[in-house]
């Protein structure tokens, strides 16, 4: 028989049990909330605009190294963008198992010169990284960037699983994303895209180059491509953008392969306004920047201006 005392004892034990469960669930829920809010975001790497400073430079010439050096010098030198002891992440396009001549990846001479300039400015660490589309080892080697950037003094970061950290994107397409750690940890970020035709977005230039900091499947990002491109450009705001147009892939991008699709442009453009740089890059492909979805979206969200000719622009001849 169960007596009155037993009923009380069972009741008390039941209350403790239910209380434990409720407390456990509450604690669990709070931990979940805490996890979501503890994700890091990527800081804004842009520098305040200097009064009277040159905004954008276009340097023409047959030598990509010299074009890069002259463009940076005309902007005021790398010391304007990188201070002694800072850690710098450099993001070329190393997405493809292609040679430099095939113009699917950034020219290795341009990347190497940027590394040398950053090093001369006193950077304590220089990372060169990209989340390649094709097999990374092949892309980094065949592009010539691994060798050129490595010899110039950069640390090469391949997109291995351990190279990614989850961040809060708060974008319209992506809420969170796995991003290559140099982009998160760096004091300064330099974007070095190449000019390419792109089957879906029309062109791949500087803003689209941020696809290459993400891990995971790309299909999600291509569903609303202009919004995705600008979401990522809002996520990573670089200190400096150097557009490589030594060669441009005019058709069958972004993969290319056939040298018949490549056109020698022999120029490098540099500046801090990605929208302006992309507007200029679009013109190299024969596109009207005001009809390019991501340029217009970039303007709409206040990332920059497509009216690059209204900026303080310097054009250097060969």
């Amino acid at each position: 028989m169960i007596g009155r005392r037993d009923v009380l004892r069972i009741g008390a034990t039941g209350a403790v049990a239910l209380g434990s469960v409720a407390a456990g669930l509450l604690l669990h829920a709070r931990e979940g909330v805490a996890d979501l809010h503890s994700l890091p975001t990527i800081k804004d790497h842009r520098l305040p605009k200097l009064a009277g400073a040159v905004d954008m430079v276009i340097a023409h010439g047959a030598d990509p190294t010299l074009n890069t050096r002259r463009a940076i010098e005309a902007l005021g030198g790398m010391g304007r963008f990188v201070k002694k002891g800072e850690r710098v992440a450099i993001k070329p396009n190393i997405g493809w198992n292609r040679l430099p001549e095939q113009a699917a990846n950034t020219n290795p001479d341009v990347v190497a010169e940027v590394v040398r300039q950053v090093r001369a400015a006193g950077a304590s660490k220089i990372w060169v990284t990209d989340a390649s589309v094709n097999t990374p080892e092949q892309c980094f080697a065949r592009s010539g960037i691994q060798k050129a950037a490595g010899e110039a003094g950069a640390t090469i970061v391949l997109p291995e699983a351990r190279a990614f950290r989850e961040v809060d994107v708060a974008g319209r397409i992506l809420r969170t994303a796995d991003v290559l750690y140099p982009i998160i940890e760096a004091d300064r970020v330099i974007n070095i895209p190449i000019v390419k035709q792109h089957g879906l977005s029309g062109a791949t230039l500087s803003m689209k180059n941020w696809y290459g900091v993400l891990g995971g499947q790309r299909v999600t990002l291509h569903q609303s491509i202009f919004v995705s491109i600008v979401d990522l450009a809002v996520m990573v705001k670089p200190t400096l953008t150097i557009l490589d147009a030594t060669r441009a892939l005019m058709a069958n991008g972004p993969t290319g392969g056939n040298l018949a699709d490549v056109k020698a442009m022999d120029l490098v453009a540099a500046g801090s306004d990605e929208v302006a740089i992309d507007a200029f890059g679009a013109t190299l492909l024969g596109l009207d920047p005001f009809k390019l979805g991501f340029v217009i979206e970039g303007l709409r969200v206040g990332l920059g201006t497509p009216r690059y000719k209204d900026l303080k622009l310097v054009e250097l001849g060969s």
């Binding site: 037993d6 589309v133 990374p136 879906l200 299909v219």
Partner: protein, 189 residues
Amino acid sequence: MKYVVFAVLVLIPVFLVGWVVREGRSVPPTSPLASAAFAGGTAAPEGPKADPDDAPLLALFEGSPGGAKAKAMPSLYDEKRLFDYIDGAAPLYIDRHFRRLAAAEMATADGADLTCDVYDMREAENAASIFLSEKSGSSKTVDDWPQALVGSMSFVFRKGRYYVKLTAFDKKSEAALPGLALALRERMQ
């Protein structure tokens, strides 16, 4: 009886608290990308499992067609994964009823590297459509083979449901492209 009731009441919270803690430790990643393509390191994302329709596609790479040998099993890409290989060019194929891509890096007998991408477009008319859309301005047609185009470092052709893109990385591998193309065409019966 009362001991059984006691035991049950004591075990319930232990079980539930244990379950909560266990779930807390194995919460799935919040990012849709966290189960990333690179989960296995730097290898290409895992492709779809080969189905019986892939057998003739994979058979094209067996042995040494035209003297070139695949360095590893070809990677397979379906509609969803195609973006992971050709990024923004994928919709051009998907819009034309693309079914599967088999892609492999190959090496010639003298060690020159090239890539071989064979797209199964389901129907010959789809393969013809993508062949036309990707035609480069200065590519040249091949004598007696109007479904083939040769470019610098590049050879593309179509045969039936297949569209094939061969890409070289130097003069040696470029010279090997026509032989490989012919051998693949022969196998596409």
